[in-house]
């Protein structure tokens, strides 16, 4: 990414949160715009070029979910939601509204940065039309409908491939159970979570080096699954990894 620095819009009514996010992002080579209210956020998003939006759910003037919905109605800019106490149902709802990912407060900067990079990369891939997705030793060629593990071609059943395909299209982001079930088995099966469990197990046997401790196709408990991309994700999810020097991709 030798491109110009990515621009992040931070929407939060807490000035302290905005301040540390600004510092954290700027230290990692981002340009930061801030908004304290939902209305301001929507105005900024329409007026300025933005690469990614980070929006807090508790805003003084409107629900953060509404901000997600309004921005998503005309823009495909990646949106990451911050919530104080996110129940799984709420997360699923936000993802369905069009948020790309969520981070539960309190969070570490490294965790948020990892999520941001995944979202930006996915956006870039969508724009460039890049047909291959790499996840660790796994390569998914969406154009050739081929899946390779350590450069060896895997044989998948049609449903297994379809499942992996949907995950690869959202590589790095969490995909909800409902979305996967609808895409793979059709809308009448959106509540048949056990289909997913059984097929994910089969798929992991084929694509994971250690199927018991999956690192590629990971479970987001109560929400969905995520195809973890090599590099950026690694061990985000806790702030314990902040000792490692942050990788700057800019």
């Amino acid at each position: 990414m030798s491109e110009p620095a990515p621009i992040v819009l931070v929407v939060d009514d807490e000035i302290q949160i905005r301040r540390f996010l600004r510092t954290g992002f700027e230290l990692n080579g981002f340009v930061v715009h801030e908004a304290g209210t939902g209305a301001e956020a929507i105005r900024t998003a329409t007026l300025r070029p933005i690469d990614l939006v980070i929006v807090d759910l508790g805003l003084p003037d409107m629900d953060g979910a509404e901000v997600v919905e309004r921005i998503r109605s005309w823009s495909s800019v990646p949106i990451i939601v911050l919530s104080v106490r996110s129940t799984e149902a709420q997360k699923v709802h936000l993802l369905e509204l069009g948020a790309d990912d969520y981070v539960v407060k309190p969070f570490g900067m490294a965790e948020l940065l990892a999520r941001v990079r995944v979202a930006l990369r996915r956006q870039m891939r969508a724009v460039s039309g890049e047909p291959t997705v790499k996840a660790g030793p796994l390569t998914i060629d969406l154009a050739a409908r081929a899946v390779l593990l350590n450069d060896k071609r895997l044989t998948l059943t049609p449903k297994e491939y379809r499942l992996l395909q949907v995950l690869a299209q959202h590589a790095g982001n969490v995909v909800t159970h409902q979305h996967l079930l609808k895409e793979v088995w059709g809308s009448i099966h959106v509540h048949d979570t056990h289909y997913l469990r059984i097929f994910v197990r089969k798929l992991r046997q084929k694509i994971e080096p250690h199927p018991d401790t999956p690192k590629i196709l990971v479970t987001e408990l109560g929400v969905g699954y995520r195809l973890v991309q090599s590099g950026a994700e690694g061990d985000a999810g806790a702030w314990s990894d902040t000792n490692a020097p942050a990788k700057s991709e800019t």
């Binding site: 807490e14 302290q16 949160i17 301040r19 540390f20 996010l21 510092t23 954290g24 230290l27 104080v84 106490r85 799984e88 149902a89 407060k105 309190p106 969070f107 570490g108 900067m109 490294a110 059943t157 049609p158 449903k159 159970h177 088995w185 048949d192 979570t193 056990h194 289909y195 469990r197 059984i198 097929f199 994910v200 197990r201 046997q205 199927p211 018991d212 401790t213 999956p214 479970t219 408990l221 109560g222 061990d235 999810g237 806790a238 702030w239 314990s240 902040t242 000792n243 020097p245 942050a246």
Partner: protein, 517 residues
């Protein structure tokens, strides 16, 4: 009561009088035959039998009728001259006068006995009602239980449809259907007025509905609206009759209020109200305090993580260590607050699990992942077979319970020691065991480890904690129909916490054919 029986309509006495006349006639017939056969002189004393029977069964009027008829029958049939009411012998006149005197006295006595018997029976019923009522009050859990008890008690002693409203709000919210009775809108409106204290509460008001039914609406107690407002369906009685019923209602309600006061119902009601308000207040307070605490914590933690990777601090080992302390302590505080919030959630709303088919392996991996930071300096061994059955649970709750158990294992074991997680199926159950090589448990500790605020006393000085963790874990597992238990070989020999969850393979929905096409 007494006046009513004597002066009441003759109609009411008629069956008794007819029976009495029949008795006297039958007796006369028998006596006539006996006298005829045996040649006995006279049998006036025998006529005391119908007098006593009539007095005990039908009251004083039939008894007096029996006495008069007996007198006439004796005079006519048995005293010479026969078949005439005249009596010749003075001795026999005295006999008859004596008979009348005894008959009247006996009927009085018998009648009084009968009344006492009835009163005793009524008192017994009242006492039984009252006893049942007080027993219901004793086990009443909240205000609505108390009100239901009052309602049933009044309905049983009034023998009418009785509906009790605890206040104006209840009446205005009510659709009118309560306890199998439909309360008309007009009556409801009056109840609202009375409950709000706008109408006279002492005598009550009469409401006549469109259908012609008469309802009495009044406060249960004229002194306090605390007991609620009562609506009684008096039916379509005439005015005098409903006045009579109103007097009875007054008497019953005065009685009931006295009982309620004696039983401390007013106190109980306001106490129950206060208790629920206190609970709500406490939960709201904990909720808002926790939220208020977490908001700055998010800034502290976030800022600490930014600082810990800041290039300016990279060379400053001591400063970096300080920043890590800030971060770790903030994280610990956050966990404590989360526990407090979970505990509030458990005790206030109960837990509503969102069940779905879940892979036990996913749950265990995700719990280990969540604790990665805390488990970093322990040797974690995961022994989960790949073919475990799916379970129908709330995976997030099970994961949170496991996190609490891991937390506890870390807290009471040495750095570098082993923590083993193993999952097995056995007899249609799934067991997840978390075994540490830590401080272990004494027998008394094993007994109370799952209590709220239970803290290991041996380690209270050296380890921090709120004593909520395992209590939360057991509540979360319990909400998924599971069981959790702890075993230990003894102090210093490690602890194994076992989670047992139901596996119902039969309930797993089958794949439709073509699911893999």
């Amino acid at each position: 009561m007494d006046n009513a029986t004597l002066l009441g309509p003759i109609r009411k006495q008629l069956p008794g009088i007819f029976f009495t006349l029949g008795l006297v006639a039958a007796l006369t017939a028998i006596l006539f035959i006996v006298v005829w056969e045996s040649g006995l002189a006279h049998g006036s004393i025998v006529y005391l039998i119908p007098v006593v029977i009539a007095a005990t069964r039908w009251g004083i009027v039939p008894a007096l009728v029996a006495a008069v008829c007996g007198l006439l029958a004796s005079a006519y049939f048995f005293y010479p001259p026969a078949y005439s009411f005249r009596v010749k012998e003075p001795q026999e006149v005295i006999d008859l006068v004596l008979f009348v005197f005894v008959a009247v006295a006996v009927s009085q006595l018998a009648n009084r006995l009968k009344r006492q018997l009835e009163m005793a029976r009524q008192r017994e019923i009242d006492l039984r009602d009252l006893y049942a009522f007080s027993r219901r009050l004793a086990v009443a859990f909240d205000v609505s239980d108390i009100h239901a008890a009052i309602e049933d008690h009044l309905a049983s002693i009034m023998q009418r449809n009785v509906v009790l409203f605890s206040g104006a709000r209840e009446a205005s919210d009510s659709s009118g259907r309560r306890a199998g009775t439909t309360v008309p809108q007009r009556v409801l409106a009056e109840v609202v007025e009375v409950a709000a204290g706008r109408h006279d509460t002492v005598g009550g008001t009469i409401v006549t509905t469109e259908s012609g039914e008469i309802w009495l609406v009044r406060a249960v107690s004229p002194k306090s609206l605390e007991f609620g407002v009562i609506a009684i369906n008096l039916g379509r009685e005439s005015n005098e009759r409903s006045d009579e019923l109103r007097i009875r209602v007054d008497a019953v309600l005065a009685d009931a209020t006295a009982t309620l006061e004696r039983l401390g119902v007013a106190h109980a009601i306001s106490e129950a109200r206060m208790r629920s308000q206190t609970d709500q207040l406490r939960e709201a307070l904990i909720g808002s305090v926790s939220h208020e605490l977490r908001t700055p914590l998010a800034s502290i933690l976030g800022a600490a993580t930014v600082l810990s990777t800041a290039p300016a601090l990279r060379q400053e080992k001591k400063l970096t260590a300080l920043v890590h302390d800030v971060r770790d302590e903030a994280e610990r505080l956050n966990n404590d607050i989360q526990n407090l919030l979970d505990a509030t959630r458990i005790s206030s709303d109960g837990i509503k699990p969102h069940v779905e088919w879940a892979d036990p392996g996913d749950i265990i991996n995700s719990a280990v992942d969540r604790c990665r930071h805390r488990l970093a300096d322990r040797r974690v061994v995961i022994d989960v077979p790949p073919d475990l059955p799916l379970i129908h649970v709330d995976p997030v709750l099970i994961q949170q319970a496991l996190v609490q158990i891991f937390d506890n294992a870390v807290k009471y074991s040495e750095s570098g020691s082993q923590i083993k997680v193993a999952a097995r199926t056995q007899d249609g159950r799934l067991n997840i065991d978390v075994a540490d090589k830590g401080a272990g448990l004494t027998i008394p500790e094993t007994a109370k480890i799952w209590d709220r605020f239970a803290r290991g006393e041996r380690h209270a000085a050296t380890t921090s904690g709120s004593g909520l963790g395992l209590w939360i874990a057991s509540a979360f597992i319990g909400a998924n129909d599971g069981k959790v238990s702890a075993t230990s070989e003894g102090p210093g020999l490690g602890t194994t916490v076992s989670i047992e969850l139901p596996v119902s393979q039969a309930a797993l929905p089958q794949f439709e054919s073509g699911a893999d096409e």
